[in-house]
Amino acid sequence: MIKNRFQYLAPTSVEEAANLLAASPGDTEVIGGGTWVVVEMTAGDRDPRRVIDLKNAGLRYIREEKGAVVIGARATYTDVVRSAAAAKLPALVAMAAGVTGGGQLRNRATLGGSACYGNPSSDVPGLLVGLGATLTVRSAGGTRSIAAADFFTGPLRTALQTGELLESMTIPVPAGMKQGYYKFKLAESSWPICTGTALVGADGSATVTIGAANCRPVTVTGSASDLDGLARAAEAAITSPFSDTLADGEYRKQIAGAIAKRAVKAAV
């Protein structure tokens, strides 16, 4: 049960949202789909005085722009699955379609919310890093861009500063490269335990980003024809393994190599 009363705000532009946030960032929560925030408010883990809901702020879009796919912060997983523009990024679509929780969750939860939450044990961070995305964030003072690899700074930590909100994510369409996404879960309702996002060039060069296993996503390079080498590199790259209730870091590290291979196979 949500314990305390709060003010609910639904600004009609991203600028207005940024200004509202700037007024009192300390006791305000921004929500996309609210599938984290509302759950945590119910559990008493968050107790905001104000909630800014982005649903009317014009951020629910997915479009193609200059060889890239731009995803508004309020776009849902279902939006991605249905989007013609996103179809250029099969790894992204596979990721979105594979989010658990069924239609109810995928229709409501946003990629932006997942990115801002920064839980290592989730799909979005590894995928954004793996596809070389750039995140555009906005504050009352304007916008700035952050590379995904720099955005995820640690468990439940991101480069978002106080008073900033996420506006969009820009993912370049990797020309001439095959993409693959593979997710490993303990059971159907489990969080992602280890994910792999692979880009494989025509020459067989492969880049794999492992998500969910390390405190920050890690990227290794190698060759699609030497999967064992890639697997060893992936495992070695897990230098600060992530642990939570479902799985400790040691286990995640042990399977990272296998997941890297499977991501490459998903691409080829």
Binding site: L186, A187, A258
Partner: protein, 800 residues
């Protein structure tokens, strides 16, 4: 085996309900969301309770300060443990360990003095809304003296371990130690060709009905009586519990159990919140509501056993001796019946196998985990998993096929009733035939070749078998767990039938099954029968729902009551039709004279009995109401010469088979096929039996693969929601392929045995054996549940 038929002159076979897949009563309401659960009820003036739970697994409560919360305008009432003591006595234990020579500890609606688990209630508040009540908890100040704690069962047994209870008699943390010893194990082991020793850890998991617990207590100051709308499985026994705790007579309590959204044991009595809502309602004179949150429901666990066993067997696979001394970590002491699962785990060895010498000792130990609550399987699931592991280990050691080892050790069909070493008297069965049918279900004979072919490609598939014996419909002497039950059948002057029974339905459909029995006995239409359950003021005394008992006790009681009604109808109809009673046929709402076209509507006969009591119906006693009890045979509470009792009338059995593939890189188990041959005697409604088996099997999948009450090192519950307590979902499970074998019970009127509990342990056992079969070529062995990727990979790494 002859089975008493409900048909003195049988309803023509084509028109019988018994044995039919009749639809669930009120099924349309469930499907269309019209069913009302306790949380849907809105009584005028209802206020809401929330409870403050201890953040420490073990602490002395120095002081509870309610002054800040009482100053808040939202606070309607607040209580701490000492204050609650003035309103309520300790909650009687539903099954007290003291009855069996174990230890006892007072359990109160709010803890006083000490808390022994994280999550124990230390104070409670009432406010206009649940949100307000939750917010008020932040204003309660509790001063604790934190004490050292112990979470592990074996550690709790060590000298010097923190003692949970400092009351008299608790010189250690042992709740009870129960031996089940028969024959001379050491001699058997010395004379056997081989022995093997191993361990098995059966982890802590629970049952999670989608509807959690919920209570609305309402004290009427004028009537000086409570009306309780409680989501409970056992209204009458709960009334007894509450009357003792609340210092009122049972007549001052009316419990009305609304439709409940699953029970599985969780909703059996003894929970502190039951009495607590009553205490507040009496203080306030208003209805007080409390609905359990999921993290509260997940506190209650079940089954955490560590088995250390030694098996003596001969080269031909015959087992001659079993020693298993195991611990059961029952968590903290509660008034709920959970701990009793440890007792029945010991009692159920060695399931359906003939083992001359058995030395089984269970030690129930209390720790600073939250208490156990009853969970479907009620202790029998542990022995099922462990015995089936043991059989496979013997097969491995002797090189004999695991199915063959089972054949060589099973009780034979001509040996029933069979008395086991622990004193159980198994009614009937044909385990050999059951095994053959189950093996065919998943083509056991063809599997070896498939397995070899898969292995050649580097894939690890495995086949697992588990026999399951499920003692059901218990009567535990000296406790409020009864094995008999009561049903009332009434036919009103318009010929409609109302059935009231002391058994309740947790959603399983037993109301419909019992109605089928009555419809056939009276020759009336099923749709015309109204079933009322769960109201202590209008239903006859009964024990509600547990232990696969509804058809055995309530169903047979309804049969007897319906027969009494039928006798009256028959006498009057014979007079009206000028025929002999023996010639009457009851069918489709009519009583007719066999071989003629003479007939009278049953409703007309009913009307005559009410309106012409001094004329046409002078020979029978009106009204058309009968209440009967059914006490099944085979329960024996007078101890035999060895001091053993026999608390179960029926023993259903099943053989479960599973095929899995293990991903050896990640340890993940893919359950590919699952089948079960189930024998619960005569079936009133095979669809309901199958529905129960589907549900139980999937619970077993969860037990074997993913459900786990994980704790953090600080004593807090780590798995406190469905993202961390992982139930199985529809899209990860295979079809549950069910086949039936019917070996009627010679000890119940309708030849029925219990159904509903069976499935959890058998399904889990088959999967654990299948996983072990799959990883055997790697040299690895899984000695625990669940077979989650993490534990399977650990086993594989250990073998490397």
């Amino acid at each position: 085996m002859s089975v008493a038929s409900p048909y003195p002159k049988a309803v023509p076979e084509a028109n019988r309900y018994i044995g039919q897949r009749s639809r669930k009563l009120k099924g349309d309401q469930f499907l269309t969301g019209k069913t009302e659960y306790v949380n849907d009820l809105e009584l005028l003036g209802t206020v809401h309770m929330s409870v403050l739970r201890s953040p420490h697994p073990h602490a002395r409560i120095r002081n509870v300060d309610l002054s800040r919360v009482r100053q808040d305008p939202r606070c309607i009432s607040a209580l701490d443990g000492e204050e609650a003591k003035q309103h309520a006595d300790p909650i009687p234990h539903f099954i007290s360990a003291a009855v069996f020579g174990g230890k006892y500890n007072d359990v109160r609606v709010i803890a006083t003095g000490k808390v022994t688990y994280r999550g124990q209630i230390v104070a409670a508040v009432v406010a206009p809304s649940r949100g307000d009540a939750d917010a008020l908890l932040d204003l309660i100040d509790v001063d604790y003296e934190v004490l050292p704690f112990v979470l592990d069962g074996d550690e709790a047994l060590e000298p010097g371990a923190p003692l949970l209870y400092d009351t008299e008699g608790w010189e250690d943390n042992v709740v009870i130690r129960i031996p089940f010893v028969e024959g001379d194990f050491d001699a058997a082991a010395a004379g056997a060709d081989h022995t093997l020793e191993d361990t098995f850890y059966h982890h802590r998991y629970s049952t999670q009905p989608i509807e959690t617990r919920g209570y609305i207590a309402s004290w009427d100051p004028r009537a000086e009586a409570y009306t309780l709308h409680f989501a409970t499985q056992n209204p009458h026994p709960l009334r007894w519990v509450l009357s003792a705790a609340l210092r009122v007579s049972e007549a001052q309590i009316r419990i009305i159990a609304p439709t409940i959204g699953g029970g599985f044991g969780l909703k059996m009595p003894g929970h502190p919140e039951e009495g607590l809502t009553c205490v507040f309602s009496r203080i306030l004179g208003k209805p007080v509501k409390w609905i359990e949150e999921r993290d509260e429901a997940l506190l209650l666990g079940a089954r955490e056993h560590f088995h250390r066993f030694k098996v003596a067997f001969n080269a031909d696979g015959k087992i001659v001796g079993l020693r298993n001394h195991f611990t059961a970590n029952v968590g903290s002491i509660s008034a709920c019946p959970g701990w009793g699962m440890a007792f029945l785990a010991g009692l159920s060895f060695p399931t359906g196998y003939k083992i001359p010498a058995t030395d089984v000792v269970v030690t129930a130990v209390t720790t600073n985990k939250a208490p156990w609550q009853a969970a479907r399987g009620y202790g029998k699931e542990g022995p099922q998993i462990v015995m089936e592991r043991i059989i496979d280990l013997v097969a491995e050691a002797t090189g004999i096929d695991p199915a063959e080892v089972r054949r060589r050790n099973f009780i034979n069909k001509d040996e029933f009733p069979y008395k086991t070493n622990s004193g159980l008297n198994i009614d009937s069965g044909d385990y050999h035939q059951a095994l053959e049918t189950a093996l065919k279900l998943l083509d056991y004979d063809g599997f070896k070749a498939k397995q070899a072919a898969a292995l050649a490609e580097g894939r690890h598939i495995g086949f697992g078998i588990a026999f399951e014996l499920t003692p059901e419909s218990a009567d535990i002497p000296g406790t409020i767990v009864g094995g008999y039950d009561t049903s009332t059948v009434k036919m009103d002057p318009s010929g409609k039938v109302t059935l009231l029974t002391g058994v309740t339905t947790p959603g399983s459909g037993n109301d419909g099954g019992i109605a089928q029995i009555v419809a056939d006995t009276l020759g009336v239409d099923l749709d015309g029968i109204t079933v009322i359950q769960g109201d202590t003021d209008i239903c006859p005394y009964g024990f509600g729902n547990y232990s696969g008992r509804s058809m055995v006790s309530g169903g047979n009681a309804a049969l007897l009551a319906a027969r009494d009604i039928r006798v009256k109808l028959s006498k009057v109809a014979a007079f009206m039709l000028e025929a002999a009673e023996d010639d009457l046929v009851f069918d489709q709402g009519k009583i007719s004279v066999a071989g003629t076209d003479k007939a009278v509507a049953i409703k007309d006969v009913a009307n005559v009995i009410y309106t012409l009591a001094f004329a046409t119906a002078h020979m029978v006693e009106p009204p058309l109401e009968a209440t009967r009890v059914y006490k099944p045979d085979n329960i024996v509470h007078f101890p035999d010469e060895k001091g053993r009792i026999q608390p179960y009338p029926t023993y259903s059995n099943a053989v479960h088979v599973a095929i899995v593939e293990v991903d050896t890189e990640t340890g993940k188990v893919d359950l590919q096929r699952f089948g079960v041959l189930h024998d619960c005697g005569n079936m009133i409604n095979p669809m309901f039996v199958e529905g129960q088996m589907h549900g139980a099997a999937v619970m077993g999948f969860g037990a074997a693969l993913s459900e786990e009450c994980k704790y953090n090192a600080d004593g807090s519950l780590a798995a406190d929601r469905f993202k961390t307590y992982m139930m199985q979902r529809a899209n990860e499970i295979p079809m549950v392929e069910v086949e039936h074998q019917v070996t009627p019970s010679p000890f119940t009127l309708l030849g029925v045995k219990g159904a509903g509990e069976a499935g959890v342990g058998g399904a889990a056992g088959a999967i654990i054996n299948a996983v072990n079969d799959a990883i055997r070529p790697t040299g690895a062995r899984l000695r625990r549940t669940p077979a989650s990727p993490i534990h399977v990979l650990a086993a594989l790494k250990e073998a490397q």
